[in-house]
Symmetry: C2
Subunit: 252 residues, 2 copies
């Protein structure tokens, strides 16, 4: 499939953040919004977006405020700001010609997975792929994101077994009725297993749930083989859920 | 693959229950113990056992006491009795030449899925596939199984959101570290979704978790297309987990 990339400007709160649209010109496939983790940027997903575009998806990567061209905001940007970025990017994706508007979902990592889960409350999502999903306490929503880690209970919070009603991101997952993928890095030095387990438990009402572990991998999938394995998981999963939906949409 | 079936006698508490071994004579593949639901019998799994034997598994189906040749015990058999049947059948499977003893798991439906989950406490299981898993209250363990449904709270219990520590089958699932498959029938008239959701949530520590729904299906998968879809899910899942294990077992 002939895949092309182009830069897209996304406006949010009077600021401009950059996105990259990767798709085949001929497609009207699923729209995939990639939400990167804290400290990364849209380039993190070049391989994944290319691979999903190769099977017909319309892929949008973008830079959360506080990163890349808005790096100056790194110390002050809040979850509220970044949530607005994610909504603006979603809306930009939904407006793109050729994007299957009725079939849009999120692929997110770490902080981006957390924001992607919260997007369930705000926008219709048909699918949701979370890699190494981060968890944050609900309170101090408008505190700069960088300050959240200062809380002395922060690390312990990620080791708690939480019910869906105890955290807004988990509560969103419990409402999710689409197809869900959760991927854990076996040797994740940032997100401990209990945090991932909370997401898995909360997703018990999803239409389907696929949980896989990448053996030996670290948090950022720093080795090419780990990223390739993640990309392959995404491609296999997307192929399965789009095939099933295509069958379900056929009158019988 | 050349697949054959033969009858196996399983002794438990001085009684004889019948099993059927389905496998290729040349295999040393995964051992699969099929545990049927209440009111069914080993013949329920002819298609599934044949299909898994076709990809190299050593499959054992058997009749729980209270069914088939021990139908006379239908009104008096207890969960304790049937749990002992499952353990005896597991041990029979583990003794069979050609069975990959280090790689044994359970495929169970409804009451059989409940018993299969409890087997986690008793025997090493590498994989666990639950279709329409039933839930029962922990107490009255030695009451005849048929009497459990008389409890006026029985139906409501299956609609509760339960934590793993509140039910012994869910508690077993929370300990499970192997590969798990949960399959729900979309229009299950016996097992409501909250019961299935409890199992999904409890399995958050599994090495992998795959949850799928069979569209339109009833509890017993009474139409051939629904059973075929279930068989295909089992075959795909088993192929994936055995392939991954084979890679993991290869020195790198």
């Amino acid at each position: 499939m002939n895949v092309r990339s182009e830069t897209v400007d996304i406006l949010v709160d009077g600021q401009r953040i950059e996105g990259t649209l990767t798709a085949s010109p001929a497609t009207d496939g699923p729209g995939v919004l990639f939400v990167h983790g804290w400290g990364a940027n849209r380039d993190h997903y070049i391989e994944e977006a290319g691979a999903l575009a190769g099977i017909g998806c319309v892929c949008l990567t973008f830079n959360l405020r506080g990163h890349a061209e808005t790096e100056a905001l790194h110390e002050t940007v809040t979850r509220e700001d970044n949530m607005r970025d994610v909504m603006a990017a979603y809306d930009a994706l939904a407006r793109i010609r050729g994007c299957g508007r009725a079939f849009i979902g999120v692929v997110g990592s770490s902080y981006g997975a957390y924001l992607g889960a919260l997007l369930i409350y705000m926008r219709p999502l048909r699918f949701l792929a979370l890699h190494a999903p981060a968890l944050y306490m609900d309170h101090d929503w408008e505190l700069p994101k960088r300050k959240l880690h200062v809380n002395p209970d922060f690390a312990a919070y990620r080791r708690l077994a939480l019910r869906a009603e105890e955290n807004r991101a988990l509560g969103a997952c419990a409402q999710f009725l689409g197809d869900a993928l959760v991927v854990e890095s076996e040797h994740d030095e940032v997100i401990p297993h209990p945090a991932v387990a909370n997401y898995i438990s909360a997703l018990a009402n999803a239409h389907s749930l696929t949980y896989r572990m990448i053996a030996g991998a670290d948090h950022s999938l720093s080795r090419p083989q780990w990223e390739s394995e993640y990309t392959q998981l995404l491609v296999n999963w997307m192929s399965e859920i789009t095939k099933e939906r295509a069958c379900a949409d056929t009158p019988s």
